[in-house]
C-alpha cells in the first residue's frame, strides 16, 4: 500500500485531536494536575504505597469519549481508526501529562489486535466496554525483548496455570486485566489475567514518575480459562505490535516535550535577569531552539511511523524505532534544559516542570531508550 502524503492525518483525525486537546486543557489544566499528583510531596514519595494520583471521574469521561476504543476493530465494538489517530491521542495525553491507564490500554489493544483469536476479540470487547488493560511482558531485569519473561505457563490436561512475576507493569493498579506473556511448550504464549483473579498479587513499585504507577505482578498458580488463552504462540503478535507500542510512547513523549518547550520558552520571555528577558541571551535562546528542532524531528518521525504501520509497510519497525529513538533523545534534552533554564525555581517541587521531567525520564526508557533502539536498527539496516 502506498503511503499518503499527509500521513493519513485527515479531517477526522484533526477533529479528534483538537477536541481531545480542548477536553484535556479544560478538565486537566496544569494546576489541577499538580494538585492531583504533586499536591502533597510527602505522600508522593514517603508513604508506604504511593498514591495513585489520578482522577477516576476524568477517566470515566475519557472512556466515554471513546479514546480507548479508537484502534479496536469495528467488529469487536471499536471505532477501527488508524494508528495515526491513536498517536494523536497519545500525543495529547503526553501534552497533559495525563495520569490514567490510557497509554497501557492503547498498547494492550495493539497487542490484542495482532493476536487475532477469539480470546483476543473477547478481551478487546472488554476494552470496548470500558475496561482498562496493561501488558505484563517484562522480566525483572527490565529486558525489552519479547522472548524474555519470568512467567511460566504450565499445561496439565486442559488446564493452564501461570506462575512467576511480571515486572515493570505500567499502571497496574488502574487496570482490570493484564495481557501476560509466559513461556510455554510452544515458546511464548499470551494470556488474559484479571487483576483480581485468585493468585494474582500486585506489588507496587516506588517510582519517580508521579503521573503513573508501576508494579511487579506476581502470579501464583493462576488458572487460565481456555477462553483467556489469547495465543499459545504469541511471539509474532508481540513482534508485530512492537511498532505500535513504540509509536504510542513516542507520541506521548512528543506531546509532553512540546509542553516542556513552550513552558520554557514562556519563562524565557517573562523572566528578566541582567535587564533583559532570559530569551535575549543566546545561552538560553539557542538551547531552546535546539530542543524545538529535536522535538519537530521526533514528531515528524512519529507520524511517519504511524502512517507506515497503517499502510502495512514492511519497514514499519524501522520507522517506529527511529521515532522512539528521536523522541527519547528529544525528551532527554528538553528535560535537562527545562529544569536548567528555569534556574532556581526549576529545581523546586512547586514548579510544574518536574512533573513532566519525571514522566519523560520514565517514557525515555520505556520499551528502550535511544541507544537501545539504534542497536536494534543496526541489525535491520
Amino acid at each position: 500500500m502506498s503511503q499518503p502524503k499527509d500521513f493519513g492525518f485527515g479531517e477526522d483525525e484533526k477533529l479528534l485531536r483538537d477536541s481531545a486537546r480542548k477536553f484535556l486543557s479544560d478538565t486537566l489544566p496544569v494546576d489541577k494536575l499538580r494538585k492531583l499528583v504533586a499536591g502533597d510531596h510527602v505522600e508522593a514519595y514517603e508513604s508506604a504505597v504511593q498514591p495513585l494520583g489520578y482522577d477516576e471521574n476524568l477517566w470515566k469521561q475519557i472512556v466515554e469519549l471513546g479514546w480507548t476504543t479508537l484502534a479496536i476493530p469495528e467488529e469487536a465494538g471499536g471505532a477501527g481508526m488508524k494508528v495515526v489517530a491513536v498517536a494523536a491521542i497519545a500525543e495529547e495525553a503526553g501534552r497533559a501529562a495525563l495520569p490514567s491507564p490510557l497509554i497501557p490500554t492503547l498498547i494492550a489493544t495493539a497487542v490484542l489486535c495482532e493476536a487475532k483469536s477469539a480470546a483476543a476479540s473477547s478481551a478487546l470487547g472488554r476494552i470496548a466496554a470500558g475496561e482498562a488493560a496493561s501488558i505484563a511482558i517484562t522480566n525483572a531485569q527490565g529486558s525489552w525483548e519479547p522472548t524474555d519473561t519470568d512467567v511460566v505457563a504450565s499445561q496439565s490436561g486442559n488446564e493452564t496455570t501461570l506462575s512467576g512475576t511480571a515486572s515493570f507493569v505500567q499502571d497496574a493498579r488502574k487496570v482490570s486485566f493484564f495481557v501476560v506473556s509466559a513461556k510455554n511448550s510452544s515458546g511464548i504464549g499470551l494470556y488474559v489475567v484479571d487483576a483480581d483473579a485468585p493468585g494474582v498479587t500486585i506489588r507496587p513499585d516506588q517510582i519517580v514518575d508521579l503521573t503513573r504507577d508501576q508494579a511487579r505482578v506476581e502470579f501464583k498458580d493462576v488458572v487460565i480459562a481456555a477462553d483467556k488463552v489469547v495465543a499459545t504462540d504469541g511471539l509474532e503478535a508481540l513482534r508485530r505490535a512492537t511498532p505500535s507500542m513504540l509509536v504510542i510512547v513516542a507520541a506521548d513523549l512528543c506531546g509532553a516535550a512540546e509542553w516542556q518547550l513552550q513552558t520554557t520558552a514562556e519563562y524565557a520571555k517573562v523572566r528578566t535577569q541582567f535587564d533583559h528577558p532570559l530569551g535575549f541571551f543566546q545561552a538560553v535562546k539557542h538551547p531552546i531552539v535546539n530542543a524545538m528542532i529535536d522535538i519537530d524531528r521526533a514528531k515528524s518521525l512519529t507520524y511517519a511511523a504511524a502512517c507506515e504501520i497503517d499502510s502495512e509497510q514492511a519497514t514499519a519497525e524501522v520507522a517506529a524505532r527511529m521515532a522512539k529513538s528521536a523522541a527519547s533523545d528529544a525528551a532527554a534534552f528538553i528535560c535537562s534544559r527545562s529544569v536548567q533554564l528555569h534556574g532556581g525555581i526549576g529545581f523546586t517541587w512547586e514548579c510544574d516542570v518536574h512533573i513532566y521531567f519525571k514522566r519523560q525520564k520514565h517514557n525515555q526508557m520505556l520499551y528502550g531508550d535511544g541507544i537501545y533502539q539504534r542497536s536494534k536498527l543496526g541489525e535491520m539496516l
Binding site: K5, F280, L381
Partner: protein, 401 residues
C-alpha cells in the same frame, strides 16, 4: 493536508516525467561538482546552461512565472517540476542564484520594464546571476554593508567590495545591496541589479576556499556607473527588498529544482556504504557498534528532515507556520557537516587522503565534503543567526542583538 494535484497539475507531472525520461543528458566528461555554486570551468558552465535552457524550453523551468516574462503562466507547477527533476536525478539547474533569489525579487519589486528585461534570459540560463550582499565587514550583519551608491543625475556611482559572490565569473548580473546614505543603518540601503560582465571598474577575483577549490569570488567596484533604471524599488527600500531575497534564499536550501534534499539521503547512504566497505579488525567499520550508533543517529536525522518536510505540508500537524520552513537550512547543513565528519572517522587513517589520491576512499569526498560543509553552515545566514531567527520569529523570544 497534503496538496493533491489538480488535473492540470497531474498532466504536467506526467509531462515532466516523460520529458525527463526522454531527455536525460549524457554525463559530462569531467564529473560535476556537488552544487551549482561550485561550478568553476567553462565546460561545466556550458553543459549546465544548455541543460537549464532545454528544461526551460520544455516548460520545466519558470513554469509559474507569467508568460509575458518568459514563464509558463501556471500555478503550482514549479513545485511539481522540482519534485520530478529531483526524482529523476537529472543535473542541477545552474542559474541557482537567479532562480532562487533574483527572479522572485524582481517579480516582486521590479518595474514592468525590469521584469520584461531580466526574467526571460534568467529563466533560460542565457544570463547568469550572482548576489552582492556580503562584504568583508558585513557578514552575518548584512545591514552594515558599506558599498556606496552615489546619485549622479540619472546614474549611480558604485564603490565597494563584495565577497562570497558565487558564479560571479560567469555572471552578467548581480543583485546588489548598496548604501546611498550613512544616516540610517537600514533605511540607508538601496537595491540594484548591476551589470558586472565587461563593465568598466568591475573586477572579479576568485576567492580560494579552504578546500583549495574555487567557486566563490570577490567583486570590486571602482567608480562603476550604473543607470538609475537598474534600481529595484525605491531609494531607501534596500533592506526590505533584501528581505524578500533572503526569504527565498532560505527556501532555496530545500533545493528548488536542483536535487535538493536528495543530497542528504545520498550522503547517508554513502556513509553506510563506506562503513560496510571499510575493513576494521576482522570485519568492517559497520561492525563497530559505536560508529554504527553514530551513523544511525545521522540516518535518523536525515529521515527526520524528510518527514519534517512532508509534515510541513500537512496543515493539521503544524504548530506555527514558520516553524518547520525556517528550520530547513540549519538542520540540513549541520546534518551534512556531521555526516561528513563521521565519514572521516570511518575512513580513519585514510581520511588523510585527498581528492587526487588514487587510494582515497570515495575519491576524497569525505574530507572535501567536511570542509565544504562549513560554506553551508556559514553562508546564507550562519547557523548562529538561523537559531536567532527561529527563537525570535517562531518562539517569540527577545531579540539577541
Amino acid at each position: 493536508m497534503a496538496r493533491k494535484d489538480t488535473p492540470e497539475q497531474a498532466e504536467f507531472r506526467e509531462h515532466c516525467r516523460r520529458w525527463l525520461g526522454e531527455n536525460r543528458p549524457a554525463p559530462p566528461a569531467v564529473r560535476l561538482p556537488e552544487m551549482a555554486i561550485e561550478v568553476s570551468t567553462e565546460d561545466h558552465m556550458g553543459y549546465l546552461s544548455d541543460w537549464q535552457n532545454k528544461c526551460w524550453e520544455a516548460g520545466l523551468v519558470g513554469s509559474d512565472y507569467p508568460k509575458e516574462y518568459g514563464g509558463g503562466g501556471n500555478h503550482g507547477f514549479l513545485r511539481i517540476a522540482n519534485q520530478e527533476m529531483s526524482k529523476a536525478g537529472t543535473p542541477f539547474l545552474i542559474n541557482v542564484i537567479g532562480l532562487g533569489m533574483a527572479a522572485p525579487t524582481i517579480l516582486h519589486h521590479g518595474t514592468e520594464e525590469q521584469k520584461r528585461l531580466y526574467l526571460k534570459p534568467l529563466l533560460a540560463a542565457e544570463e547568469i546571476w550572482c548576489q552582492g550582499f556580503s562584504e568583508p565587514g558585513a557578514g552575518s550583519d548584512l545591514a552594515s554593508a558599506q558599498t556606496s551608491a552615489v546619485r549622479d543625475g540619472d546614474n549611480w556611482i558604485i564603490n565597494g567590495h563584495k565577497v562570497w559572490t558565487s558564479l560571479a565569473t560567469f555572471s552578467k548580473w548581480m543583485i546588489l545591496l548598496a548604501r546611498h546614505s550613512n544616516d540610517h543603518k537600514y533605511n540607508g540601503l538601496t537595491y540594484f541589479v548591476a551589470p558586472i560582465a565587461d563593465t568598466p571598474g568591475v573586477t572579479v577575483r576568485p576567492l580560494i576556499k579552504i578546500t583549495g577549490g574555487t567557486g566563490f569570488n570577490e567583486v570590486l567596484f571602482e567608480d562603476v556607473v550604473i543607470s538609475d533604471n537598474m534600481r529595484l524599488d525605491e531609494i531607501g527600500k534596500g533592506w526590505t527588498v533584501a528581505m524578500t531575497t533572503l526569504t527565498h534564499e532560505r527556501g532555496a536550501a530545500e533545493g528548488a529544482g536542483s536535487g535538493g534534499g536528495a543530497g542528504v539521503e545520498e550522503r547517508i547512504e554513502g556513509l553506510v556504504a563506506l562503513a560496510k566497505k571499510t575493513p576494521r579488525g576482522n570485519g568492517t567499520a559497520w561492525d563497530d557498534p559505536v560508529l554504527r550508533d553514530r551513523i544511525i543517529q545521522v540516518a535518523i536525522r536525515a529521515n527526520g528532515l524528510r518527514q519534517t518536510m512532508r509534515r510541513g505540508r500537512v496543515e493539521g500537524l503544524i504548530d506555527h507556520p514558520m516553524r518547520l520552513p525556517l528550520q530547513g537550512k540549519v538542520v540540513m547543513t549541520e546534518l551534512m557537516q556531521d555526516a561528513a565528519a563521521i565519514g572521516m572517522e570511518i575512513a580513519g587513517a585514510a581520511s588523510s587522503l585527498y581528492i587526487r589520491d588514487e587510494n582515497a576512499p570515495d575519491q576524497g569526498d569525505w574530507p572535501l565534503g567536511y570542509m565544504n560543509s562549513y560554506g553551508m553552515t556559514i553562508a546564507a545566514g550562519t547557523s548562529e543567526v538561523q537559531r536567532n531567527i527561529l527563537g525570535e520569529r517562531v518562539l517569540g523570544l527577545a531579540k539577541s542583538k
